[in-house]
Symmetry: C2
């Protein structure tokens, strides 16, 4: 049985704060600051260039990848870290499309995170492919035999709606297409089973439920059956089979290492590595059960107290990630009022109040405080003040 009291104590959240925005930026595990400080003072400062070997910096993207593999139903040696999620989306989609050179269509849905669509569109324009975007509920029906790649974010960043990875992958394979799964809102949040679903490519970020810090490195997974064939357009020296031979010609490394591009961000990767310590001893099944317990309790309590809010997430927990969205015409102002009371969720345009539940540190006390705070603010109309009405740049 996973001890969520232990994991909660690995974080030092500010007092008086109810943090339900870990699906945007996870809080800092207390050990991360010390680990980064040690890396800087004992490794970079003392070992200098020799840190690449002596301190293991060079191998870090693969070692950290192995730690993430366990959380997403993948095997050891199948995940590598680096860059940002947008770059990893580009690599995965371009590699998948190149494996279906006679097909032009990349299919995605309008519930995908916009950056994934921007990246796919930029790629499509450059390589004579076509990005086709349908409504989330129409994805399955839109899988047709002109499809090269199905590119889907498993859990919708606004609604929390979870696509059926296994069913969509099977359907894509039936028409001869490959799948790219974005796990931004899945990794560390739900029970991802990449190998079991027979997915082809997966990518994700690590600054949400994995608590790697703002702008932490992304990950990419390639199914072992494709890993020696996939050619990303982005061919960097760290993905070369012998980077330090300095050949003028690119020869991709075997397996997942070819998805490395440039020099890895060691300081950021060290913070992430420390954050992954918290996951030791955490069972993903327990995590999922706890996540469902928290989101179910939140929906029930909010609906009992806030008649003006409309649930924007699937009611069936099996079709939902680890977040809950509610709609309100003044969602932005309501969220500002809530934040002013120390209850931090976020706003997503045009009218969504979004609350993320991270079993690693959220508990039923957070559920209670957030739901009751929301009820109080709505009842008092305390959101209806000018200072809550400005437009957010970043929330």
């Amino acid at each position: 049985m996973t001890d969520f009291n232990r994991t909660r104590q690995a974080f030092d959240l500010p007092s008086g704060i109810t943090y339900l925005d870990g699906n945007s930026l996870g809080p800092m595990p207390t050990s991360a600051a010390e680990r980064v400080s040690r890396m800087m003072s004992e490794e970079w400062s003392r070992m200098l260039i020799t840190g690449w070997n002596k301190a293991g910096w060079y191998a870090q993207p693969r070692k950290v990848g192995d730690r993430i593999a366990r959380l997403i139903g993948a095997g050891s040696g199948q995940v590598v870290m680096g860059d940002t999620l947008s770059i990893k989306v580009f690599q995965a989609v371009s590699a998948a499309r190149a494996m279906r050179p006679d097909r032009r269509v990349i299919l995605s849905d309008s519930g995908n995170f916009p950056s994934d669509l921007y990246v796919a569109h930029g790629l499509a324009a450059a390589v004579d492919a076509e990005l086709r975007v349908v409504a989330p509920e129409d994805v399955e029906a839109a899988i047709s035999d002109d499809l090269a790649v199905l590119m889907i974010t498993e859990v919708d960043y606004r609604t929390g709606r979870r696509h059926d990875m296994k069913a969509l992958t099977r359907k894509a394979h039936e028409v001869g297409a490959l799948t790219v799964w974005d796990l931004a809102h899945s990794a560390g949040a739900v029970d991802v089973a990449l190998l079991d679903c027979d997915a082809d490519f997966a990518v994700g970020c690590t600054y949400k439920y994995l608590n790697g810090g703002p702008g932490a490195p992304a990950f990419i997974w390639v199914h072992p059956q494709h890993a020696d064939k996939a050619r990303p357009i982005l061919q960097g020296w760290m993905g070369h089979h012998a980077p330090f031979d300095f050949d003028l010609d690119y020869q991709p490394a075997a397996g997942i290492e070819r998805m490395r591009v440039g020099t890895p961000p060691v300081i950021a990767m060290t913070a992430l590595d420390a954050a992954l310590d918290v996951w030791e001893g955490v069972s993903i099944d327990d995590l999922r059960a706890r996540s469902i317990e928290l989101t179910e309790a939140f929906i029930a309590r909010v609906e009992a107290r806030c008649p003006d809010l409309v649930l924007h997430s699937p009611r069936d927990p099996l079709q939902r990630g680890s977040q809950v969205g509610f709609r309100h015409p003044q969602a932005y102002a309501v969220m500002q009022a809530l934040i002013a009371e120390g209850i931090i969720g976020d706003f997503r345009a045009p009218d969504v109040l979004r609350f993320g539940f991270a079993p690693l540190y959220n508990d039923l006390g957070d559920v209670e405080r957030a739901a009751d705070g929301l009820a109080r603010i709505l009842a008092n109309q305390s959101w209806d003040r000018d200072d809550y009405r400005q437009r957010a740049d970043v929330t």
Copy 2:
């Protein structure tokens, strides 16, 4: 007059170490560890998601870019940080090529850092362009009117040979081509003058002479006359004109901001920002003069004491960056012996001993210790031992 005693004191190099490998990885400025520690404990840990605005994380890639602009002869608002150098090479070359859609040829030279060639080759294969690679001395003659892009690393990573940015740019413009300059071994090392040379695109890394830490973020500069036209293939949400509107369609931001891709690496960027403090009050002309003084002194002292070594860098300091290479048939073993004595340069295949001189912290004492150590090792043949003969993975 720049005070290089002050800048030297900003670093705490390990005692007994003569560090001449800052052209591979710059040493840690002592303030960097404290700044990162503060960012983690006071910003990430306390502000959580609100740090994007309150702590200025969102604007950081542009603010840090402005600090670098001054060091490379560019203007404020023209440089933005992010990703790795390989990614920035890809963005610059793809944007430049897209501005010359009727031309297929990307010209580079065999002295370029291999990763740049890999990236350009990957791009060329995807977008039906052609990467043409000539010898460094043949670049000028190879600039022909079928050229879309001239992609050159200003200072050769092995020989230190410096290309004439102004002359090559002029020649490229005469045939209607655009230029992409890689400043990896130039920024913080020589007097780069992008605007004065009328260059079109420039990119660089910050973990060498700028001391940003292992895997520190890269930079990209686009000439203001192109900045609102350039379309990189990599279209990420941070380069959108309104990232938090979450539009499904990509609309590039005005100016250099469109070269942003994904969420910026805040922890790493903070280390870099601290490292850039050391550059306050440093005149680039003084830096260049000091660099020439150090490399001239090193060449003279080595040549006087080590008859077996062959200078691999241009003798004319005006054609040289801030590094010196010497060739020796047993270069790898010789460098291992040197490192064992605390004199850290590096080896570049197949037979180059490479020494970088960073005026910010190297002085004539370093020149003396390195040259004399080299002479001693070669005279005693102390490199001729089995334990210096293994193959390096990373040096």
